[in-house]
Amino acid sequence: MSVILLLIPLSLVVAAGFLGAFFWAVRSGQYEDTVTPSMRLLTEEPKSSTRSLSKDEKPLR
């Protein structure tokens, strides 16, 4: 029965991990547009718009 003392913290850690993943997903804006990513998947080429901005380019907004 005492094994439960090990299992409970373990389950809490796993659950907290998922909560953390959810926080990350929300913070990175994945819940704001749930339509477009599914379409991006259909275009053949790997997503090339991820090209990062060079140092002197500045995002406006």
């Binding site: 409970i8 389950s11 659950a15 926080f23 547009d33 477009t36 991006r40 275009t43 090209r51 901005l53």
Partner: protein, 729 residues
């Protein structure tokens, strides 16, 4: 920089727009938001300009829709990140506390011993702390604000319930007398927050609020003469215009400020401002009002008033035009919750009094139990889910509502006021009737040939109405057009003159009938009056059916900024009881609505142009009719695709059904409350009863709300859902 691009409609659009950096110098990455029809583009302001990026999009076939008011607007996600995180925390706590509570519910305490029960209780308490302090924060605040304003909103019993649940549970855990209601507490907030996410998601992504700047172009052509005396043109933003500046307005452009005409022939279309469908002619030196658009050639104007003080802007700034509604004060839920809260309080106090007299030890459990069970979770979910689903059902069919409150107002509408031009009638496909001896084909050919030379709206309508094909036209000699008067030309040696009475008089033609109607075109051949074309705006399809559907149940009126030449026609459509009013200014339209409201009516205004915007705001429900969703429309509560206008009667009926369904959901959740209360009032409420009753009631209500509304929506005859896709630009 984020652009609104209405043309986005398919996968290929997304792909192309995210490859934009390949086509333009200095353009970085771009991200498309399909649902909002927006594209965010990063670019280097030193290597390119905003104008060039916009031009690039235009050349790809995705013309961005630029408005002055967009420049200082930041995009707001439909559901705020904060709400998602609050929901996540509540869900996390709900799942875990449920696991800790299960041993207790199955009676495993005896097996595992009280040590585990205390451990589980303390763990649940720790898990619930962020739920109570953070996830529930909005409810605490709303309840506090409600109490401060002496208003019993639904948040008050919710907050009381949360407090009772948490307080009772803490006491049980600390004293070791039980494991508390933490799972019910977390579950309650989880369900409540789900409802709020759903509600926020259901709200349209269309913008319903406008200010005058949405109407104006971003920049205009300013003329100036440099020291050498040469004319120079430059593009300037509207905010940099000053009184005395000279501007060049080209064909089709909007006049941005009240101004005096200094050069060119002005034929101004004020239909958007006044509702008048025919362009008016203005001479040099006359005043032009902002909001009109030039329809013939380029003109030069000199600004007489700053943009912020012109006629159009002053219209907007009128008190009545900017009526901010308190959207939540009188909603169906809040009316119900006031009664509900008083009943609960009375019951709780009654139980305390009863048990205080019979068995004081059960008084406190009974009081707390009532507050816990009565916590109106199902009640709080009923309205958001029912109304939210109804909003989605309507949205799929091209009818967009500002918020759920509008649906409740729709259900109460008993008077409908229609605008004429652009709402009941369309500019395309007007009916053209010829009064006079029937025209021979050779005469039609001649008329068609002459009017084909002109771009005046009436000429174009005559050309469309003629039975002669464009290829069959003859050569026209000596063509002359005087703006605002008419045209003349020679075909096969016959001299044709078409236009107004004044125009024919000037051409020496006598014996004319006195028409005085702006929509009529007189025709003369070789100096003799041949007949008159009467051009009327065509009614949208099925308007007759809509009116006869509404006539029995609603008071109908027609308001028009146009003259009354079509009175007879609308009298036959609307019947004898309806009010028909013509030659109304925007202010008069607004006053008409006010007058109806003062006589106790709930008024719905259906309109399309700026000339209706005052009336749309004043009315209880303002419906803006647009040719294309996403196109510009005045501020309103409902945006309706023009093809859906005939379905308005069904929309009204559907909204009444929906409100009835909200009431039915209230009844269901009240039934659960009655069951729970009868247990709680006896002071015997246990965590397991609470843990079953609360989710069960919420799920039933949500299932009933969504299911019944979807079902009624399919049977309401609202028309088929809109398809996706369409042609590629």
């Amino acid at each position: 920089m984020t652009f609104a691009v209405p043309a986005i409609h398919c996968v290929a659009c997304v792909w192309l727009l995210e490859q934009v950096f390949r086509f333009g110098e200095g353009v970085g990455s771009s991200t498309v938001d399909f649902a909002q029809k927006r594209v965010s583009i990063r670019f280097d302001p030193r290597r390119t300009t905003l104008a060039r990026v916009a031009g690039l999009l235009d050349s790809l076939g995705y013309a961005p829709d630029l408005r002055l008011s967009d420049l200082d607007r930041t995009s707001v996600p439909a559901v705020s990140r904060r709400l998602w995180l609050q929901l996540g925390v509540a869900g996390f706590a709900f799942g875990n506390t449920m696991l800790f509570s299960l041993p207790g519910y199955f009676g495993l305490d005896a097996f595992s011993g009280p040590a585990f029960r205390n451990l589980f209780g303390i763990l649940s308490l720790l898990l619930s702390l962020p739920v109570v302090t953070w996830s529930a924060a909005d409810y605490w605040r709303a309840a506090w604000v409600g109490l401060k304003h002496r208003r019993l909103s639904l948040e008050v019993p919710i907050a009381a319930g949360i407090l009772a649940l948490f307080g009772q549970s803490v006491v049980e855990v600390v004293t070791g007398s039980g494991e508390g209601y933490f799972d019910s507490l977390a579950g309650l907030l989880f369900f409540l927050l789900t409802g709020r996410v759903f509600q926020q998601k259901a709200f349209g992504r269309l913008t319903f609020d406008r200010d005058y700047r949405s109407f104006f172009p971003l920049s205009v052509l300013r003329l100036s003469s440099d020291p050498a005396g040469l004319e120079r043109e430059e593009r300037v933003g509207l905010d940099r215009l000053e009184v005395g500046n000279r501007l060049r307005i080209r064909n089709g452009e909007l006049i941005p400020a009240d101004a005096r005409l200094v050069g060119g022939e002005a034929l101004i279309d004020y239909s958007f401002v006044t509702g008048e469908s025919e362009p008016v002619r203005r001479h040099i030196g006359e005043l032009l009002y902002a909001g009109g658009s030039q329809t013939a050639g380029a003109i030069e104007i000199e600004i007489t008033k700053p943009v912020s003080q012109c006629y159009l802007t002053s219209l907007w700034n009128q008190e009545a035009f900017r009526k901010d509604r308190d959207d939540t004060a009188d909603s169906i839920t809040n009316r119900y919750s006031v009664r509900f809260t008083w009943t609960i309080l009375a019951l709780a106090v009654g139980a305390v009094a009863f048990w205080g007299w019979r068995d004081p030890s059960r008084a406190i459990p009974a009081f707390v139990g009532i507050l816990i069970v009565a916590c109106p979770c199902a009640l709080a979910l009923a309205a958001p889910y029912t109304l939210g689903t109804a909003l989605r059902v309507l949205g799929r069919r091209g009818i967009f509502l500002r918020n759920t409150q509008v649906l409740e107002s729709l259900a109460e509408v008993d008077a409908v006021v229609f605008d004429k031009t652009g709402t009941l009638t369309t500019a395309q496909g007007g009916e053209v009737v010829f009064r006079g001896a029937p025209l021979a084909i050779s005469e039609w050919t001649a008329i068609r040939s002459v009017v084909a030379q002109s771009s005046h709206p009436l000429s174009r309508r005559l050309a469309e109405a003629s039975p002669v094909e464009a290829s069959g036209t003859a050569r026209v000699e000596g063509f002359r057009e005087v703006l605002g008067l008419g045209v003349e030309g020679r075909v096969d040696g016959n001299r044709w003159v078409l236009g107004s009475v004044r125009w024919l008089h000037q051409n020496g033609i006598e014996d004319l009938p006195e028409t005085g109607e702006t929509g009529s075109v007189l025709v003369a051949c070789n100096g003799i009056h041949r007949g008159t074309f009467v051009v009327s705006n065509s009614l949208r399809g099925e308007v007759g059916k809509l009116v006869s559907d509404l006539r029995s149940s609603h008071e109908l009126s027609l308001l028009s900024g146009d003259n009354n030449r079509e009175r007879w026609r609308f009298r036959t459509v609307f019947g004898d009881s309806a009010t028909l009013a013509f030659d109304r200014t925007p202010i008069q339209k607004l006053e008409f609505i006010q007058d109806r409201q003062n006589s106790g009516r709930t008024v719905m205004m259906v309109g399309d142009g700026l000339n209706d915007s005052g009336a749309l705001r004043q009315s209880d429900v303002g419906v803006a009719v647009v040719e294309r969703i996403g196109a510009f429309s005045p501020a309103s509560d409902v945006i309706l695709e023009a093809t859906r206008l005939p379905r308005l009667a069904e929309v009204l009926r559907f909204s009444r059904t929906t409100v009835a369904l909200v009431r039915a959901s209230f009844v269901i959740s009240t039934l659960y409350n009655v069951v729970g209360l009868s247990i709680a009032a006896s002071g015997r409420l246990s965590p397991v009863v609470c843990a079953i009753l609360m989710p069960l009631s919420s799920v039933t209500v949500v299932a009933f709300a969504v299911g019944s509304v979807e079902w009624r929506g399919r049977r309401a005859g609202l028309g088929p859902a809109l398809g996706k896709g369409g042609g590629h630009p």
